[in-house]
Symmetry: C2
DNA sequence: ATTAACTTTCAATTTTTATTGAAAGTTTGA
DNA sequence: TCAAACTTTCAATAAAAATTGAAAGTTAAT
């Protein structure tokens, strides 16, 4: 396979993966393009390579910068901005995890905390209320577990990630 | 807070969480409704409680059954079908993990495997090709790590999940 | 202060995805 | 075998999300 074809396949595959996980296809594709590009790219470069509009490029690179996985690069004597992706995959994964935890896990934990305060009422039997409380409690436990696991991974350095965690996963 | 209000908030929150992770809002809401309902529900029950059409209920309930997290329940002497959610949250999480790994992780691993076979060509410098191969290699390593981690979690029973994994996450 | 080179915004549009509802299909009991 | 009580399908429709492109905004050099 030729390099260009391989790059295209990666961009396409990464885009598909992203959209399955709630990241817009284009955002994932911009990320993939920056990952496979040796140097930083300008807005025009991205527009041309992915065949998308200027506004779209701007929107998506800014979202990627919000996530901390893409950086703006300024070159002396150049007015336009160049963009490059964090190339360390563990760091990238950590940053994504951090951001998604903040955006998605924390809100549901808040909701779970609120609704676990459900009080006995005349319209529901005590059994119904108890069943609900128990159900929510187990979801809450699980979500808190996931939250703590995410924290640990976020704090962990790459060595820990590769050695300690790897050993756990393959104890043989 | 009253039980009904708490249930609604859970259904809404679960729906939002789902859509952030690439699951349709309605599918997540049907799942949430079944989770908070003490008994099994009929198609009509779901239609009424979520205010959605019969076709939509049918579609989403079948998708949830594909995932293995909702079961059909037949009652003697009743022609219609009732549905109930797996109430064990660890088991639910495991089943979701398993299904998503199959649907989303495996395809990207296949793509990565293919494109790592990139060959030197006249249109690209050896350095470019090498940089690409290295990049893809690190993504591949990471994806394979995630794949193995998922396998382990899938095989693990609840005890392991709660004790061993918990200890690792909070080594103090 | 002006202008050229850029970035950002946003209302309009397109594309994608989800939903409906009615018709077709299936199953079960009489 | 019939018909009632269901489930399933799918073409049409609606809703949501992504995208465009042109105009407005910003910045930096002269």
């Amino acid at each position: 396979m030729q390099l260009d074809e391989a790059k295209s396949k990666f961009i396409e595959g990464w885009g598909t993966l992203g959209s399955a996980w709630g990241v817009s296809r284009t955002m994932a594709q911009v990320h993939a393009l920056l990952l496979v590009s040796p140097g930083a790219l300008s807005t025009e470069d991205i527009m041309e390579q992915l065949q998308i509009s200027r506004g779209n490029v701007n929107l998506n690179v800014r979202a990627l910068m919000d996530w901390g996985i893409v950086r703006k690069e300024l070159r002396p004597g150049e007015r336009r901005e160049f963009f490059s992706a964090e190339k360390d995959i563990h760091r990238t994964a950590t940053l994504i995890l951090k951001e998604r935890r903040k955006r998605e896990l924390e809100p549901i934990l808040r909701v779970l905390g609120e609704i676990s305060q459900v009080e006995p009422s005349p319209t529901a039997t005590p059994e119904e209320t108890a069943a609900f409380t128990q159900m929510i409690g187990s979801v809450q436990n699980f979500a808190e577990f996931a939250n703590r696991a995410a924290s640990t991974l976020i704090k962990a350095d790459e060595n820990w990630f590769l050695s300690t965690f790897m050993k756990l996963m393959r104890p043989g």
